[in-house]
Point group: C2
Chain length 240, copies 2
Amino acid sequence: MKVLIVEDDPLHRSYLHEAVCAALPECETVIEAESGTAGEKLARDHRSAHVVMDLQMNNRNGIEAARTIWKERPDTRILFWSNYSDEAYVRGVSRIVPDGAAYGYVLKSASDERLKLALRSIFVEAQCVIDREVRGMQQKSLGQTKGFSDTEYEILVDIALGLTDRAIARRRNLSLRSVQNRLQQLYEKLDVYQTASDDHDDSRFNLRARAVTVAMLRKLLNYSALERAESELAEWLKSL
Amino acid sequence: MKVLIVEDDPLHRSYLHEAVCAALPECETVIEAESGTAGEKLARDHRSAHVVMDLQMNNRNGIEAARTIWKERPDTRILFWSNYSDEAYVRGVSRIVPDGAAYGYVLKSASDERLKLALRSIFVEAQCVIDREVRGMQQKSLGQTKGFSDTEYEILVDIALGLTDRAIARRRNLSLRSVQNRLQQLYEKLDVYQTASDDHDDSRFNLRARAVTVAMLRKLLNYSALERAESELAEWLKSL
DNA sequence: GTAGATGATGCGGGATCCTGCAGGACGCGC
DNA sequence: GCGCGTCCTGCAGGATCCCGCATCATCTAC
C-alpha cells in the first residue's frame, strides 16, 4: 500500500507520517506533499489511491486538490484531516465526494487512537468515517431543520461575491423577483432582522451586507469557500 | 526568566517549548496555555513578562489576548508566532502594541534559527523583531502608496459589518455625504469598478458587497478582524 | 376533484445607495 | 492676502434594493 500525505505544516506532516506507519504496517511507502498542487501531481504520478489531506493550505485549497484527484480517479480514498468543522468546509467536501467513494473527515483535535482507527477503517476496510462533530454539521447542513437548503446557500454565495440581483437572476436562470424572494428567505434564516431595527427608525443594517457577515461569523462561509466561489464566478463570466 | 506560551495546537506548543528552552538557557520555567483566555489568566497569575503568542486560536483570538495582557502590564514582551501575514493581522497587532513595548512577529514558516534568534532579541535584548514578509505588509499598511489609510480601513470595516450609511455616519460622527465620499474612495482603491461594468449595462456588481469580498480575498480583512469588529460594534450599540 | 403547500413571477412603491455638482472649512506655502 | 489642496457637507437624481400584494403552475394529500 502507498499513502500520500498532503499537508503544508511540517510538524503536522511528520506527525501524520508516524501515525500512518504505526496504524498501517502493510504500508510500504509514504509520500509527502506540502501543497495542494504538489499533492495533485504526486497523486497522478504515483497512482496512489490512499490520501490523507489537510484542508486550508496556502498554495491550493485541500478541497480543490481533492476534487481534481477524484476527477481523475474516483475510487481514491481520501481522509480529510482538518482543524475545523466549519459548515463551509463540510458542505464543500460533501459536494465533491464521488458516489460510493470511501472517505473520512477527522479533526486534528482527535486523539491518536481515533486517527489511527480512521486510517485503518478507510484505507483497509473502505468505510466512511466522519467525526462526530463534523457529522453534526452535516446533519444540520443536509437536513432542513435550522439548516440551509442548497438554493439558499447558492444565493448566499452569490451576494457574498457581490453580484447584483439582476446578475444573480441571469446566472441562476431566475426572474428578478425570485431572486429577491430567496434573499428574503435567507435574511430570515440568518436572523438579520432581529438586530436591524433598534428602536424607532434608527441604526439599521444593510441586510445584504449584514447577511454575508453573519454567515461568516457562523462559519457558513469562510475564506476557502469564497475563494472557490470566486474562481467559479470568473469562469462563468468568461462564458458571457 | 519565565516564559508563557499561548498556542492551541499541541504539536506547535511542544515545538515552541523546546525552542524556548534551547534558545534561552536562562529561562527557568515555561508555562503553557492552550487558549487565549487561559493565556490571559496565566499571564496575570504568574506575572510573566515574556510571552510567545499564536494568533488565530479557536477560543480567543491572539490579538484580543495580547491586548488585555498589555493593558494590564504594558511592558510585557510578546512574540507573535503566526502562520499568516495577512494585512488584517498586521494591522490588528500594530494597533494594540503600547508605546515603547518590545515585541516581535515571526512566521511559523521561519527556520528554527530565526525563531531562536527572535526569542533572544526580544526577551533578552528588548528589541523589536519583525519578519521580512510581515514588514512588507506593515510598510504597505502604514505608508500611503497603494495602502489604505485608517479612515478607509475604518469604513471598510463598517460596511463589512453590514451597517447602513446612516449608521456609519452616526457612529463616526460624519454626515451622510462624507460617509459616501469615503465609500467612493474605498471603491476606487479596491478596484471594484474594473469588473463592475462588463460591456454595456450588463452583469454588474453590488459595489458595497463586492468591496467586502475583494478585501477578504486580499486578506485586508479576515475572520478574526471581523470578530473583533463585531464585538466592538456590539459595545457601541449598547451605548446607544 | 378539491384543498393546501410550495415556489416562480409580475407590479408597484418606499427606502437606500451611488454619484455629479457645488459650496464651505481648514491648513500650507509663497 | 492669495492660491491650492484636502476634507466635510448639502442637494438632486437615477439605479438598485427590499418587500407587500397578487397570480399561476406543480405537487401532495385526503
